[in-house]
């Protein structure tokens, strides 16, 4: 296949409107994006308009343990401490807020105290409003304590010190860490362990994963955080989107596999096709 000729033929169709990058993979990544968008629409239709069964989610021990940890806190009469990581509004934080909604609903139902620790003022404000709404929906508006939703510090170690101090003073029975954590992950986990809390972590920084696996009772492996809201709610629409995500992942894996075999055999066809524009 003459890749150079293919490049020349393809260029006029895209050069007016599609941005390029130095890797020359704009078209390949645009096609993946279109595939993903199409699959999202397809599964949206299936989830909302039909009763077609959707793929089952495999068991995730950490998420199954959420109810167990809240139940433990309820029985012991001690609070649940929830921290949503140190980054501002980013995808992991949105995932953390989705889980926080679930945790707030459960703590409102069981009259368990929920303490939220936040390192981002923006996230704290939004989380406070979200938790208050959840409590009102559960008919427990009086049980909501605004002072329990705290912005501690924008500095990661200031935040870790504050959160560990809260866990130890309040003798937390459960500690949930979701979102994006950095070097303070181990300090938070060991602080929670010293306070005797059952710990569930779901954070997206894969460099901190080993520390959390070593020190938490349950750890969600990196992208399982994004599955959490679908898993906990069992909502068809969310599960449908996960199916779309997994299909795109499978496509990428197949392309990587074929590319690795081809490159090992001395052919650059897969790389050339990916870099056609």
């Amino acid at each position: 296949m003459d890749i150079a000729a293919l490049r020349v033929a393809v260029k006029p169709f895209f050069e007016g409107w599609l941005k390029t990058d130095s890797n020359q993979m704009s078209l390949a990544s645009f096609i993946i994006f279109i595939c993903f968008a199409s699959l999202v629409l397809r599964y949206w239709y299936i989830a909302v308009r039909t009763n077609q069964p959707l793929p089952k989610l495999r068991r995730i021990a950490g998420l199954d343990a959420m109810d167990e940890s809240i139940g433990r806190a309820t029985e012991m009469g001690r609070p649940v401490v929830y921290n949503a990581g140190i980054s501002g509004f980013s995808a992991p934080t949105y995932a953390a807020l989705a889980v926080l909604n679930y945790v707030a609903r459960q703590t409102a139902r069981f009259d368990t105290r929920l303490i939220g620790c936040f390192a981002s003022a923006q996230v704290m404000v939004v989380a406070q409003a979200a938790i208050q709404t959840v409590y009102m929906e559960q008919g427990k508006a009086d049980a909501f304590r605004p002072d329990d939703i705290r912005f501690l510090s924008g500095d990661q170690f200031g935040f870790a010190s504050g959160c560990v101090g809260i866990m130890q003073r309040e003798r937390a029975a459960a500690h949930h860490m979701f979102g994006s954590l950095a070097a303070e992950a181990l300090i938070l986990a060991e602080g929670g362990a010293a306070a005797g809390a059952i710990q569930i972590s779901g954070q997206t920084n894969n460099l901190q994963q080993p520390f959390l696996i070593a020190s938490c009772d349950y750890t969600l492996m990196v992208e399982e955080v994004y599955v959490a809201s679908a898993y906990l709610s069992q909502d068809r629409l969310r599960i449908g989107m996960l199916s779309a995500q997994d299909i795109v992942k499978a496509i990428i894996v197949v392309v990587i596999f074929i590319g690795a075999i081809a490159t090992t055999a001395g052919s650059t066809i897969v790389q050339d096709l990916l870099k056609v524009y």
Partner: protein, 284 residues
């Protein structure tokens, strides 16, 4: 089966004993260094070779994405880097998006460079902290002075400084050395400059925590140099003939690692013997 055998004690050592042992394992070599020899990694040697390949007068950028918490690893790298950049007569542009990055650069690098005969504004400049790295780096691709509002950390005009001559936009840089403790870090710069084809000569100076992902980027060719962790900092100091804090701290790190491994072995010896005793008790 009784639960106070030696194996149970080895398997359940009090945390406080572990902390005390770690304290002495790290403190004693810091006070009395042994001078253990370093093993030089290929990537550190190649990174220095890249820096040395640029001629006198090259404009070099140092991204001081540092905080006091990661200063143990990144400060020695910054100081050794500043020294070699000045010795090679490269112009040093120091910037950063972490809150304390530029302040710390002023505290650490200012005295070092001044003692070597560098003149602020002529040989080096500190741009000062800016928030919103994406906006600044994107604007710097087109107009560097506009990106930084023509002001440095002391509110002096950048356009009037001799060190800024020849730097109109990011592509005028010869190379950029980015301290990489997390985010913002090297990924911020590669996204803004390398992915857009502006400037690809980015060298990664990362903490040990970031070494794994930085290594993947270096192997993929996204960055052109890699110096990782305290080990990398010590090697870099030795290679530029300015041994300092990192070299002195390597012995402490070595003994710290050995202490952890000894505890791992002790814990597992205790655990495996407990399992053996349990199996024997069941077998009876």
């Amino acid at each position: 089966m009784e639960e106070n055998t030696i194996w149970h004690k080895l398997s359940n050592i009090d945390k406080r004993i572990i902390y005390v042992v770690m304290l002495f394992a790290v403190m004693i070599p810091l006070l009395k260094p042994l001078g253990l020899p370093l093993v030089y990694q290929r990537e550190v040697i190649d990174t220095l070779a890249v820096i040395r390949s640029f001629p006198a007068g090259t404009i070099a950028y140092m991204g001081c994405e540092v905080d006091v918490s990661n200063s143990a690893e990144l400060r020695p790298m910054m100081i050794a880097l500043a020294k070699v950049m000045f010795e090679l007569e490269h112009k040093i542009i120091i910037g950063g998006f972490w809150t304390d990055g530029c302040n710390l650069a002023a505290i650490w690098l200012g005295p070092v460079l001044d003692s070597m005969g560098a003149v602020y504004g002529e040989h080096y400049v500190i741009l000062g902290h800016r928030s919103s790295p994406t906006t600044i780096l994107d604007t710097a691709r087109i107009d560097w002075i506009d990106a930084y509002s023509d002001r440095d950390i002391n509110n002096m005009k950048l356009s009037e400084m001799k060190v800024m001559e020849g730097l109109a936009k990011a592509s005028d840089l010869g190379y950029a050395c980015i301290m990489n403790p997390g985010s913002p870090g090297t990924a911020t710069y590669t996204t803004a400059w390398t992915a857009t084809g502006t400037m690809s000569m980015i060298l990664d100076f990362c903490t040990s925590g970031m070494y794994i992902s930085a290594g993947a980027n270096y192997q993929a060719g996204l960055t052109k140099g890699l110096v990782g962790g305290l080990n990398g900092a010590a090697q870099f100091e030795m290679l530029v003939n300015h041994p300092d804090k990192a070299v002195r701290s390597m012995d402490a790190q070595a003994f710290g690692h050995v202490a952890v491994i000894v505890f791992l072995i002790i814990g597992n010896v205790g655990y495996l013997n407990i399992k053996k005793l349990e199996r024997e008790a069941k077998g009876e």
